[in-house]
């Protein structure tokens, strides 16, 4: 049984289901749009102020929006107890986890690509540092959010208040990654210093948490 084959099939299945329902992407878009507009009106920052607050604002918006998608990741598998069909099959548990992470990563990256122009317009953002570094921060940061989020969403699926449980577990453990994402983004936007340290920290965080989640996922999947 090829794990890669199962991952690909599960990812394609999830993308097809999301394309038909658009549950996750619509909720995330709507939520992010609200954050952008409300904060823009609330602070009404000039270009210089925007550069200093945008790092925090952007990532908080994406973090909250990602939670909306993450909560739905496993909901589809719980309906009709489909997860049991996976558990009795010989397919490797990690293949399922990886497919879910890749799916969520794709959804959040699409959201970021759609929302980035709006952030630029509403907050008059002009990056002083190189834009490609922002792309690297976005990719590494998004992976950090979704790999932990997907894992903890799986951990909380058997709890009664799983929509509340996920942020309660996810946010504290994401603080180091969030700190790195916000500081790196602010440094790039303002041109104050180099974000190398924070990028390395994000990379290490991604590698460590991806490995830990992959190692522990089978126990989480089969927990009663």
């Amino acid at each position: 049984m090829s794990g890669l084959n199962v991952t690909t099939r599960t990812l394609m299945k999830d993308l097809r289901m999301e394309w038909r329902s658009k549950d996750a992407i619509n909720s995330m878009l709507f939520f992010s749009l609200l954050v952008v507009v409300i904060f823009s009106f609330a602070f009404n920052p000039n270009a210089e102020e925007s550069r200093h607050i945008a790092g925090g604002l952007v990532w908080v918006a994406f973090l909250f929006a990602a939670v909306v998608a993450l909560n739905q990741t496993w909901a589809r598998e719980l309906r009709n107890q489909v997860l049991d069909a996976y558990r009795v099959s010989p397919a490797p548990p990690n293949a399922l986890f990886l497919a879910k992470v890749l799916g969520n990563f794709l959804f959040v990256v699409i959201l970021e690509a759609l929302m980035a122009p709006l952030f630029v317009v509403f907050y008059q953002l002009r990056s002083v540092g190189p834009v490609w570094q922002l792309v690297v921060v976005a990719l590494l940061g998004t992976w950090a959010l979704v790999v932990n989020g997907t894992f903890f969403a799986a951990l909380s699926i058997r709890t009664r208040n799983r929509e509340i449980m996920l942020p309660l577990i996810l946010f504290p453990i994401s603080i180091p990654a969030l700190l790195a994402m916000v500081d790196a983004t602010t440094m790039i936007l303002t041109g104050d210093g180099t974000p190398d340290f924070w990028l390395k920290m994000l990379l290490v965080y991604d590698v460590v948490f991806t490995l830990v989640c992959l190692l522990l996922f089978e126990s989480v999947l089969n927990a009663e």
Partner: protein, 237 residues
Amino acid sequence: MTGTAAETSNQPVVILQDLVKFFGRFAALRGISDSFVRGKLYVVVGDNGAGKSTLLRVVAGLMEPSQGSVTLLGAKNVRDVAQRIGYMGHAPLLYDELNGMENLRYFAGLYGINDDAVCRAAMQQVGLDPELERRVGQYSQGMRQRLSLARAVLHNPELMLLDEPFSNVDVHSARDMAAILGRVRDQGKTIFVVTHQAPLMEPVADEFVHMAAGQIVGREARNRSAQSAGVLRGGAQ
């Protein structure tokens, strides 16, 4: 029964040893020790709360026993023989947002099957049209159960564990499904059916396994040749 199946019919395919399952302080299974041979259709019956579904889930590897062990097809670890087991749960275990073939294609992939013909054959075997575009969410309960059965048999498992396959299914469909199970058993497969509708299974059952209070309290072998009328008697209760 086929010749091959007859030759191997005395081999125990499921061995339960001192099986205990606790939910908190409640013992759902209380020290079950028994064995079941290959190529037979076992119908597990008992009142609500007797432990039938729990037993099936423990055997399927969906629950860890609190004590004791299960040996399936000669393996202590169910994952080692997962390819040879088919499971149909109380719920349909299908995606509502996909159509029948899309569901089967996905689940076939989990068993390393990439051939569409296998999925088509499984759908036809349970009397469903593979060309049906309708999503499973729009299926009737009977169609869902049939598709769920197709999902459980599509990888041609040696051992099938079916939990309430006739729930919410009309009598006509349930009789059809019982007949399908009889034919699958005749190919040498071992089938466990947990059901409250025992009369439906009478024409095809090899043995009734009676459960009460978390224990197997009796096993009643049926002489199928004596039921030579071959008519599916009885109906849903």
